[in-house]
Point group: C2
Chain length 326, copies 2
């Protein structure tokens, strides 16, 4: 029910994913009459793999997590998470209120043993492919111990998602040992001891986009600022490119020829292509889709959930974390 | 003597600035034989407005600020700052070691009354023009009081540099009151009390690039990460655009037509166009040029210094800070 477009985006994205993956089964959790109405506009829906679970309440995008926790037992988000807890679903994907989703996920699913705080992780495009960044905003104040846990979780998750011996780096304001704040320095010394992690040291903001690491770790304040400023810059560049080809008649003509190419670039760089942030460290799979993501972005989030189910990510994390954290 | 290209970049940039501004006089501080040698390659140099000040030592780009402070009394950076302190120069521009430049600036020039810590401020391009961001890395651990001081200094500086009633915002992970860490929340409440500042509240990373504020305030850790990740992303986009037009023969042909346009875009977005970070809060003008900046970037830094001299920025800051801080 959440996100900027609600079920108007989620329903068509779900149908597209069902069409591309014959093993997928989806439950749409939310206000049944609305969901049925939107579904009725589509023909040929295979209802054997798609069912609707009614939930009477909706958590608003501006609602405080504490309100969402206490006041709405029948919120769609909560009902979906309870389905994961009870084994009636393997993963929950939501475009709703991030803070509420995290609070409810912790409350309903609980964290894995040894994990103090779950983290949000997403993939960013880099020069050489992509890199996983965490935390993206679930934890705005982090100690060294939390950064260490994020690094461990990010490394295990990246490996499960196909990266061999992921290079793990701590985001910092310089590459030298003396740079950084206390938390980062202490986290680095913890990571240097952890032999099972391929810790490559500090990375700067530009190194991330140069593809120097597979997993980049920072606190949620920094990660959120990095992610959103990158989105803003990418949007600005896209707008400037459009403007560039409108400056003069010759520019317009070149623009007509170049636009299909530039459109494909925008596609590559847009967050939509990488949409879907994993909540790591929970006893279950939860994927947060960007609130502003359209149909294609939500499909990416569902695919991310499928990949984590296939790799049994929480189980793998559980096993590795026992060695590394406890 | 500093930066990736040393005097090989600084000398031609200086000559270009002297040619464009007949009121400018420059002193090149560093190893005189090397500087003379590079100068001798250029013809028609007006030595009445350009003189060389010999300094025998150089601070390395990786040297610790504490070493630079203690061990090198005749470092070019230090000699240049002493010229500003003694009134023999109105501003110091350097492409050298940032930490050393900041430490020496504080030691040689001292801070303005009421300022605990100087801050680094630079302009970033936005959708609607540009915005000033501070701190960029001088202070990796900041309390609310420091953020408040940065906001005051940024506001006064932006006004002096031509922005009418600058909109000042605090960088945060959300626009709502409940978002953020303790320092940011406390700084916001201090700024709401300061009537002389046009404080517009929190801003997110994407809002910065949408041009929602004229001055954006954050701690040096966050500011540095934002700046460098933006540089990295801009470089990556430029590279992808080049790659895009090499994919096929038709793409190459379109590329030949589009490249002049795209080059101008790159120019607009490249940090070089906005190069030159001001050290605010000192009893003198110090501009840090990006270590990787080439000739054109260093020219921007010299121009920034000229503008601050014209506006008598430290004096203006001094007057306003007395009202706002003391």
């Amino acid at each position: 029910m959440g996100g900027d477009f609600g079920p108007h985006c989620v329903v068509p994205a779900s149908l597209a994913c069902l069409a591309e993956n014959p093993l997928l089964r989806l439950a749409l959790v939310g206000q049944a009459p609305l969901l049925e109405k939107i579904l009725s506009r589509h023909s040929g829906v295979d209802r054997s793999r798609l069912h609707i679970v009614h939930a009477s309440q909706v958590i608003g995008m501006q609602e405080r997590p504490s309100q969402a926790l206490r006041g709405k037992p029948d919120a769609s988000m909560r009902v979906a998470l309870e389905m994961v807890r009870d084994g009636r679903a393997r993963a929950c994907v939501s475009a709703g209120n991030t803070g509420a989703l995290m609070a409810l996920s912790r409350y309903v699913l609980k964290t894995l043993p040894g994990v103090d705080r779950p983290a949000m992780m997403a993939a960013l495009p880099t020069r050489t492919g992509s890199c996983y960044l965490l935390d993206l905003g679930a934890n705005v104040d982090c100690g060294a111990e939390h950064l260490y846990q994020f690094a461990v979780m990010g490394s295990v998750a990246a490996e499960a998602l196909g990266v061999r011996r992921p290079r793990v780096a701590l985001l910092n304001v310089g590459a030298e040992d003396i740079k950084g704040n206390q938390q980062v320095k202490l986290a680095a010394s913890l990571l240097r001891e952890a032999r099972a992690i391929n810790f490559i040291g500090y990375i700067e903001g530009d190194g991330l986009y140069r593809g120097e690491a597979d997993v980049v770790v920072c606190d949620g304040f920094v990660g959120n600022i990095l992610l959103k400023s990158s989105e803003g810059l990418a949007e600005m560049v896209a707008e400037r490119i459009r403007g560039l080809f409108e400056r003069s008649l010759p520019a317009r003509l070149v623009g007509l020829l170049a636009l299909p190419l530039l459109r494909s670039l925008r596609q590559e760089l847009r967050p939509a292509a990488h949409n879907g942030a994993s909540f790591l460290g929970l006893q279950g799979i939860v994927i947060k889709s960007h609130g502003g993501a359209a149909e294609e972005g939500f499909q990416s989030a569902i695919r991310r959930a499928s990949a984590e189910i296939r790799e049994n990510l929480p189980q793998r994390l559980h096993g590795r974390l026992e060695d590394l954290l406890l």
